[in-house]
């Protein structure tokens, strides 16, 4: 089985001063096949961000284990990149330097990484003038593009995306979704784990939609519609309804 990401019976517990022990994930198992775009959908606070953080190696599970490319995750694994909701651009660096960060960490020469970074900025459709700007000078949409460029510039084999387009307006969101798909199609077949609270976004993007409710998965729905997908087509709507049904069926359990 060609599983790039495997979550094996993971549970994650946080101890908070206010509410005591909180289980973000309970005995959850999930696999993501290589080269696939898997979307995890769920309400806010259901643990989907935790899932990504475990895969990224910046947190470890209370129980169970996470494997990326067959190796247990003990720290940030090789070949992954994370795109988060706020972009997390380093504010003291200009855009070009942010994008090139991954290559810089790896010791790539300044000229080569500058070239690659510019190339990446082009591919996310950002004008060349942007490269000398600071993060705070950019709009939300541009920041997310830069975040995406930074992640892709590092040449990851696994891309983890945590609601990256949630704070954007709808037209921008749709733009970026299309760009993501284009980049993915034009790349080397990265495995993408995409977390969102928008069912519609999940259906638009994913090969497979995993529905989560609090601390666990409740449905695993393949979406076999060929891309580019038409939001108004019947197949799309059917898939949407299917996911939504799975969603609402278990929504009551959230309490």
């Amino acid at each position: 089985m060609n599983d790039t990401i495997r979550f094996e019976s993971i549970s994650k517990c946080y101890t908070t001063p206010a509410r005591g022990d909180v289980w973000a994930l309970r005995d959850l198992s999930l696999s993501c096949a290589s080269g696939q775009l898997t979307c995890v959908v769920g309400p806010s606070g259901c643990g989907k961000t935790t899932l990504l953080r475990l895969a990224a190696g910046i947190e470890s599970p209370t129980r169970g284990r996470v494997l990326v490319e067959g190796q247990p995750v003990t720290g940030p694994p090789d070949g992954i990149a994370l795109v988060s909701q706020e972009g997390d651009l380093l504010p003291w660096r200009r855009v070009l330097e942010n994008v090139a960060l991954g290559l810089e960490i790896r010791g790539v020469s300044q000229r080569r990484r500058g070239r690659r970074a510019r190339d990446m900025l082009r591919r996310v459709h950002l004008p060349a003038a942007v490269e000398r700007s600071y993060a705070h000078e950019l709009s939300g949409g541009m920041r997310q593009r830069v975040g995406l460029a930074r992640a892709l510039c590092a040449d990851p084999r696994v891309l983890l995306m945590d609601e990256p387009f949630a704070s954007l307006d709808e037209p921008t969101r749709h733009d970026l979704q299309r760009e993501l798909l284009d980049l993915w199609a034009g790349g080397d077949g990265q495995t993408i784990l995409f977390v969102t609270h928008s069912i519609e976004e999940a259906v638009f993007l994913a090969d497979r939609v995993v529905v989560m409710t609090f601390a666990r998965t409740v449905a695993d729905i393949p979406v076999r519609i060929p891309r580019p997908r038409d939001r108004l087509s019947q197949t799309f709507v059917d898939a949407l309804l299917q996911v939504r049904e799975a969603f609402t069926a278990h929504a009551d359990e959230s309490a």
Binding site: A56, I58, D88, L90, W92, G102, H136, R150
Partner: protein, 279 residues
């Protein structure tokens, strides 16, 4: 024709200094202790001349010695305090271990340590450490007394630690994680995320520390064994009643202090450029 804005600004800024000058001039006419404006200007106009009525080096020589001492003490403080501050900011154990001491030591005037410094270091300097009895050949290097450096270090060290720690503690986890996920080692996280993120706070600490260092040097130089420095000049001028040198030294001290603060403020602005408009 209305005077333009620049002229008005300059005029306004000049009012207080001119008033001070006037009061000074009037006071000097009826006082022995207050030297005449002309005599002080005379001293300032010849900064490289060895004073005919004061057992000290020239004004410029004294300034150089004081600046060198402050530079050494302050550089030492920065080099030691920044790592300590980073540690305290990022590691809880270190924080619990060191915070009370740092906070407590910071309120003690560094000059209070001077007698202790004298006992520990005496008249030793890098020159005496290097070549013992022949140290006198190494003019300036022999003037940089360890006791004085120690006192300056004590003055600048703690504010730099405190501000660095605050900056280090304030580094956003998201930034650190972003770098780690991209494969950054611990050292790379430090150099590429923690340090630049904390840089504005560090610069604030350096500015505070730098100001203290310069203020301390004047008092520290009152202590014995040295024939150089602006503080020594002021003390000796009082002793020998050559007050124009005291006044001239004070003016030079103020000017250098201003320049130093200006430099540090500029550096702070550059380091914090990215912070300015962050919403």
């Amino acid at each position: 024709m209305k005077p333009n804005r620049l002229t008005i600004r300059v005029a306004l800024g000049a009012i207080v200094p001119l008033a001070v000058l006037l009061v000074w001039h009037l006071a000097s006419a009826r006082s022995v202790v207050v030297p005449s404006v002309a005599s002080v200007v005379g001293v300032l106009a010849h900064p490289f001349r060895e004073p005919p009525s004061l057992d000290a080096t020239s004004l410029a020589g004294g300034a150089l010695v004081s600046i060198l001492r402050v530079a050494c003490g302050f550089a030492l403080a920065a080099l030691t305090a920044i790592p300590v501050g980073l540690l305290v900011g990022r590691c809880r154990t270190a924080m619990h271990l060191l915070s009370p001491t740092v906070a407590g030591a910071m309120v003690i005037s560094p000059v209070a340590w001077m007698p202790v410094a004298i006992i520990v270091f005496g008249l030793s300097s890098p020159a005496t450490a290097l070549c013992g009895d022949e140290a006198w050949r190494w003019g300036l290097l022999d003037q940089i007394r360890f006791a004085i450096i120690a006192v300056i270090w004590l003055g600048s060290f703690f504010p730099i630690v405190l501000n660095t720690a605050a900056g280090a503690a304030g580094v956003r986890d998201a930034h650190i994680e972003a770098a780690r996920v991209l494969g950054a080692s611990g050292r790379q996280v430090l150099t590429k995320v923690v340090l630049p993120s904390a840089a504005p706070s560090i610069m604030t600490g350096l500015r505070v520390g730098g100001g203290i260092a310069w203020r301390v040097i004047i008092v520290a130089e009152i202590f014995p064994g040295t024939r150089g420095g602006l503080g020594y000049m002021i003390t000796t001028a009082h002793e020998q009643a050559s007050y124009e040198y005291a006044f001239a030294s004070i003016i030079v001290i103020g000017a250098i202090g201003l320049a130093l603060d200006g430099l540090l403020r500029l550096a702070a602005l550059r380091a914090g450029r990215w912070q300015v408009k962050e919403r």
